[in-house]
Symmetry: C2
Subunit: 246 residues, 2 copies
């Protein structure tokens, strides 16, 4: 499994992904699930992936045109004129890869599916954020649903629902994401540290702050410990139930 | 879907279940998912169910021996000498019902599976709590895993993990369960009010407090609103992230 969140704020975009992949619980590896393409000053596009690792790596390789000799590569994702066309490009490749794996060779027990989050900005339009399904169709984040989660989404959702605010600072967004990831990591073995974090500041057309958050990260550990205590205090602050108060 | 939690405390047992059943999102009904059998002074046994409603209703009907004329009924669940045998009885019936539905008649798109929580106490032993799988096997709650969730378990799990304490009062347990149910209801349409609550006080051998919590319940609404605010305060109380603090 996996856990990734892409979030649209008034100030830009925030991406966070875990790095755990597993085939069963006895075969665990660490792979980066976040890839960025940029033409500084003109575009910045980040892709996060959950699902079959062979599928998502193939999609990234095709996007980077690794089928060509290095000198001949001129990735389309750096040429498309809009984020919508970038989403079309990625979703088309995703469908092709899944189709190719599904129709040829041995049948696998696990599916070849993958779900992607694609976000970024191309000069001339606003930052945009898409969720791309294994079927190759996609949806875009709007004001009503300003963030997307993929992978193991449920444990970390309640805090996002309650604390997200489009006007929040990048710092608060990182704090919120770390709480959401910590809740997920505590509940599910298939999501694990380190985490990859990336900020995109609106109209910067370049990747912003990036950070890899490992298990030694002092801030993450402060959040992880502090959130347990803060939750207990929050819980205690609620009025007590009384059986006779009916 | 469904959400039910059975919890073992030092003082006894607490059960809470929602009442929503759905076949797709356009066919929603309300059914009680909690059934209790008791011989006051000698035993109290409560069953909660998630999964195929026809299956779980059939199991309950068989447990109540509704295949016999009313006067001939003498439910085995009121005769078995231990909670372990009660779990064996229930799990055997569950497997029979699922097998019967699966092998005969039309194939259904959805499965006939169901998962059950069975808890209670029979004179001579401690209160015990079991989770019964559709395959007919079961596990018992111990000190390390003192509560079971069935159905839509993920949204409401982080707060249980953080705030559960075996020495907590029944009042605190109800508060905790309401927070966990509220988080689930807010995130998932397939879990809905009203909720059924039941307390079992250790060595009472009779059902304790029972309550149906509807959407008009003032305490539930206080918790639901208050928890959002308390979470935000808890979130604000955590130290802020700083990009330069690396």
């Amino acid at each position: 499994m996996t856990y990734c969140v892409g979030m649209r704020l008034d100030r830009g975009l925030v991406f966070m992904s875990d790095t755990r992949t597993n085939a069963g619980v006895d075969n665990i590896s660490t792979f980066r699930k976040m890839t960025t393409w940029e033409t500084p000053g003109e575009r910045m596009i980040t892709l996060m992936s959950s699902g079959n690792l062979a599928t998502t790596q193939a999609v990234v390789s095709l996007l980077e045109e690794r089928t060509k000799a290095p000198d001949d590569r001129d990735p389309s994702i750096l040429q498309v004129p809009s984020m919508f066309q970038a989403a079309q490009l990625v979703s088309g490749l995703l469908r092709e890869v899944i189709d190719g794996h599904s129709r040829n060779g041995q049948q696998a027990d696990a599916g070849f599916g993958a779900t992607l989050i694609l976000g970024g900005q191309i000069a001339g339009s606003e930052p945009r954020l898409f969720l791309i399904y294994p079927e190759g169709n996609f949806i875009e984040a709007g004001d009503d649903t300003p963030y997307f989660q993929i992978g193991e989404t449920k444990y970390g959702r309640p805090i996002l629902v309650r604390a997200y605010d489009p006007s929040m600072s990048f710092e608060d967004a990182v704090k919120l994401l770390l709480v959401s990831f910590d809740s997920t990591i505590k509940a599910n073995l298939s999501v694990g540290l380190p985490l990859d974090l990336q900020i995109y500041e609106k109209d910067s057309f370049a990747r912003g702050e990036e950070r890899r958050i490992s298990k030694d990260d002092p801030y993450f550990n402060t959040i992880s410990t502090g959130w347990g205590d803060a939750l207990k205090l929050a819980f205690d602050s609620l009025p007590d139930f009384e059986f006779d108060a009916d």
